[in-house]
């Protein structure tokens, strides 16, 4: 069981690991998309998400906390001037890791880490469920999802009106 194994150690000492992850975070902010191994990508994602969410507070203290990791002044400026304003409609999950394949030299599994700076599209039928433009246009199950909702509520209303039939609503719902 992998319980409580929160830190990916990546075979490095703490200072080495922290320096490497900070460098990776800075390259992610400069390039917006980076390619790394799966393990490094998984280690990087929580760090970057945390940096952005603290940066969104936009106080002097928050900036100083971010500056602990982002040592490069230009990247720091870019982060606050360009990247963080793009995340106004997102409260969490600022990055995404997608598996890419296997590296040729050593067979290491490679992933792509990207900043999710595109705008979030909120589905009008289901509040709170945030989806992306591409997703909502082509996926069939999400189109189908809102439809059964309406019939369900009517079925419930009908069964209530008809009286207490304990077995009836369950069969109708199915």
């Amino acid at each position: 069981m992998g319980h409580r194994d929160k830190i990916h150690k990546l075979g490095r000492t703490k200072p080495h690991r922290e320096a490497m992850l900070a460098n990776m975070a800075m390259s992610l902010f400069t390039h917006r998309v980076i390619k790394t191994t799966d393990a490094k990508a998984k280690a990087l994602k929580p760090l970057v998400d945390r940096l952005i969410s603290t940066g969104k507070q936009d106080t002097l203290h928050a900036k100083r906390m971010v500056a602990r990791t982002i040592h490069n002044k230009e990247v720091f400026k870019k982060l606050f001037a360009e990247i963080i304003p793009q995340f106004t409609d997102r409260t969490s999950g600022f990055t995404r890791v997608v598996k890419l394949g296997v590296r040729k030299g050593d067979g290491a599994p490679i992933s792509v880490v990207e900043l999710l700076t595109e705008k979030v599209v909120v589905d009008t039928d289901e509040k709170g469920k945030k989806e992306k433009k591409a997703k909502s246009t082509d996926s069939l199950p999400k189109k189908a999802a809102p439809k059964p909702k309406a019939p369900k509520s009517t079925v419930k209303a009908v069964s209530k009106a008809a009286g207490k039939g304990s077995s009836a609503p369950s069969t109708k719902n199915k």
Binding site: V98, L100, G101, K132
Partner: protein, 60 residues
């Protein structure tokens, strides 16, 4: 140093090696270009994943 006490037969070695089987990778179909791709991975043919262009295939 450990040394083999006796010669062992070709059969014996071959019997052991019967279990050295390889497994085929699970392959799924890309929803965008319908080429074979690894499940939960970006398609290496078109660079799409989950209905979205993620990488430019030419640069890879």
């Amino acid at each position: 140093m450990p040394l083999p006490k006796r010669r062992h037969s070709r059969t014996r070695g071959r019997k052991r090696r019967t279990n050295w089987t390889m497994t085929l990778p699970n392959v799924s179909e890309c929803q965008h270009c319908h080429n074979p791709k690894l499940p939960h991975h970006i398609c290496t043919h078109c660079g799409y994943y989950n209905g979205r262009q993620i990488i430019d295939v030419k640069e890879v």
